[in-house]
Subunit: 248 residues, 2 copies
Amino acid sequence: MTVQMNSGISVDCVVFGFDGKDLKVLLIKRKYPVEGLSAEDPKLPGAMILENETIPQAASRVLEESTGLSQIYLKQVGIFSDPDRVSPEELDWICKYHNIKTERVVTVGYYALVKLTDRIISYTLRRGASWVRVDDIHYLVMDHKKILAEALLALQKEMILSPIAFELLPKKFTISQLQNLFSAVTGIGMDNRNFRKKILSSGLLKATGEKERGVAHKPAMYYEFNRSSYKKAMKERTGLEFINNWAY
Amino acid sequence: MTVQMNSGISVDCVVFGFDGKDLKVLLIKRKYPVEGLSAEDPKLPGAMILENETIPQAASRVLEESTGLSQIYLKQVGIFSDPDRVSPEELDWICKYHNIKTERVVTVGYYALVKLTDRIISYTLRRGASWVRVDDIHYLVMDHKKILAEALLALQKEMILSPIAFELLPKKFTISQLQNLFSAVTGIGMDNRNFRKKILSSGLLKATGEKERGVAHKPAMYYEFNRSSYKKAMKERTGLEFINNWAY
């Protein structure tokens, strides 16, 4: 069976990974060169949607192809629909690469959160992709830089709302790693002592009893996310949370 | 100049209004009957996007046409891209009504917040539209009921994050009206005294000195949103808000 592509709509995915210190994004190359465009240009993983799939299904497909993972945190960032978001040369490339005919491509941006395990790193490197520090990304094809900026904003917002930070951390992590993650995502430097005090008094972390090994500094304790205490707190919501939220 | 429609993509808008007591949604009628479909079927205001406009521009156009207002709070709810979201009869109706040819329509849902002034009510009623209590909406065409449900969820979430409640309230409002709004949107019943105490101690409201007139009960004070105290609180954010948010 031949599955037709819906020629006007694509998806592009910002895959975030965290290595304990820096926030990184998965970038691929254009692969097929076209007149005036380099095959080496960095871009986000993406695809045109197929006629028989939903847009989230297309995003999951792209993610599975580019990371080898199927069950990962995936969230829509927004729709990018500027009629001129793709230059004539880029449109030409898209049409040739996908063998379609379209005057315009509207893309839906997604962001995904992955744990940067050795397995995923070697999988992505084998495919010629790379993990680049967010701060080091200066150019991406088309409007992918804009999609990345919006994804980062969405991640910041969502991290305040829900404990998705733990999607990016290993199962056991130190408080420094958690703090590094928040600083990397929000861009806000935080006082170590204050962070430690607040996060420990929240009841959201569970000490594992294990400590770092083979480090030069005083070994830090490993913690886990306390899912049951989080769920309990959620159940006790009163509908008045907005007041605290607005009134910091 | 003829502007071509992008035949595969539409926008649909959930316009929320609040009358001091109930949360309402603006509904229109299908207008043009097609074999097997009634012209009386209620639906959300919507349109196919034009080739030379972005999707948010299309949503603004729909809102301006249906409410007469241009500067209103408008936010994307999500994309509805089930290949079967539109039945063959509905697709037939869309193609005839818009004079296009397409096998599928992907729609982008938006929600808008308006103050239910006399002016907007008479404008919409003149055009045959109606404001229906959210709880009284049992059927809408296509997947519009699903779009409404998602819009309500998005509104709930956003109201916890930012003071958009004031987009729905008149400039001067009573604490009861604010509480009614939160109850209507979140579905959570709140204790009057607790609500009053918390909201007054937040510093987000400013007493106007005016009171209700001609009411049977003890006249209530009118308040305004204290925008400057909100802005000040936002500036003082530390990046640690997430801890309070998760740990209620």
